[in-house]
Amino acid sequence: MKSDIELVEDVKAGNRRAFSELVQRHQRALLRLSLRFLRDLALAEDIVQETFIKAYEKIHSFEGRSSFKSWLFQIAVNTAKNRLRSLTHEHVSIDDVNLGVDPGAENDLVRMSLSQMIRLEVSKLPERQRIALTLRIYEDLSFREIAQIMGCPYDTAKANYRHGLLRLRERLEALQSQTDWKDFERFFPMEGERMGPEVEQ
């Protein structure tokens, strides 16, 4: 079984079947990654297709300094970011906008499960922190690979991840103090001595 780099060399030499093999290897991971960013399967499929088209067209610019998967992820993340920006700029009909506040909105927070709440808080993180967190926790990538995908230095990728995780913890602690939700205590024991005496002061 050929490695990714060997297959890429074959594609550069004009072997289309090698690219087909690469698509089969990585399409699932790319779909999962795109789905995390866009939360819509049809859009995620578009991102995967666009990513592979771009990769095929720019295959000669791949020099093998990173893994092929990281390179594909980099293209996919950039494509997904661009798509998200274009989606936010799209025109929204006035008929689709709900004016006013749903009276049951306060209870929605309580009804939400803990995982839903965490997903919501993750999506509220700044873009770079969210990408670093997603790539590290869900994809189990090293910080060096994350830095390559995000196009930033190693320390920056690491800092984005750490600050994202800390911000997430702060948000969940704030939610815990606002609600009397018992699920939190199961996961976050908020006792006085948890943070140590110096924090309480």
Binding site: Q27, L31, I59, L114, R162, L165, L172, E193, Q201
Partner: protein
């Protein structure tokens, strides 16, 4: 200070959790963890949070293999009409004109000089004087010799005419003063002459009567100026031109010619004064007859 220390500890524990610490430091933290209950809880919260984030992922990915086969076929069908683009070489990337170097950008004086010489410099004999006085700061004098517009003339003719006109040019060189402001793109560039319609083409167009648009009229004016300049150079300014090295040569020629003419005339006068043998015989015959 306390908050900074707390943040540093949080970051340590995150690195500990992600196995991103140096082995020695990790041993120290392990020892701290073993002896401190608050630190244990701190690490435990982070560990649970990471686990929760990982577990909360929605697994809506289709598991059917036919779905992925279809996706693969669609991707390959989309790729079919395309081909890999050739890699752009780095040489091509550098085709764009280079800007001023950062070192020049930092030093405003050198930048000004570089821009000035780039705008007004060239192969001509230009002299730049950048000495600024207290009354006229940012003032520059340029001794730019007047040159004839010789573009329509052939290159060798241009060189000959330039050589002949050099003394005139040097005599007529006047200093021009340029006001400047270094922060506003100083110095202003001279407008370049419009050579889109050369006088030669203009002469051709005169024959067809197409001399209406602005460039043609400008070229017409330039042709007139060129003609007058040429006439002045060849006619009125000729003595001035000859006042230099060529004057010596001309004077020597004139002197030689004058000397030659004087010698010939003197010889003629002498010849006229000397009676010829025929006239001498005729006069003697006349005298004898009388």
């Amino acid at each position: 200070m306390n908050q900074d220390l707390q943040l540093a500890r949080e970051l340590w524990w995150i690195d500990y959790l992600e196995d991103e610490l140096e082995p020695n430091f990790k041993q120290d933290l392990s020892m701290l963890l073993h002896n401190s209950l608050p630190e244990q809880r701190r690490l435990e919260v982070l560990k649970r949070l990471r686990q929760l984030v990982k577990e909360c992922e929605e697994s809506v990915l289709p598991e059917d293999s036919s779905y992925y086969d279809g996706l693969h076929d669609r991707i390959m069908a989309a790729v079919d009409g395309r081909r890999p683009q050739p890699r752009v070489s780095r040489v091509l990337n550098r085709v764009s004109p280079r800007q001023l170097t950062p070192m020049l950008q930092k030093n405003s004086d050198e930048t000004a000089v570089a821009r000035f010489s780039r705008s007004f410099g060239g192969p001509g004999p230009h002299v730049f004087d950048f000495t600024c006085s207290s009354t006229t700061p940012h003032c520059c004098k340029i001794f730019r010799p007047k040159t004839l517009s010789l573009a329509p003339v052939g290159l060798w003719k241009a060189h000959v005419l330039r050589f002949l006109a050099l003394p005139v040019v040097l005599l007529q060189a006047k200093p021009k003063t340029f006001r400047s402001c270094p922060t506003s793109g100083w110095p202003q560039k001279r407008p370049k002459p419009d050579w889109s319609v050369s006088p030669r083409n203009l002469l051709q167009q005169w024959g067809t009567g197409k001399v209406q648009n602005a460039p043609v009229l400008a070229a017409k004016a330039r042709l007139k100026r060129f003609a007058s300049n040429s006439f002045a150079t060849l006619g009125l300014r000729l003595p001035v031109v000859l006042s230099s090295s060529s004057l010596t040569l001309l004077l020597s020629i004139v002197a030689w010619l004058t000397a030659g003419r004087d010698g010939a005339s003197a010889r003629c006068s002498e010849m006229s004064r000397e009676p010829s043998p025929t006239t001498q015989t005729s006069t003697s015959k006349m005298n004898s007859l009388v």
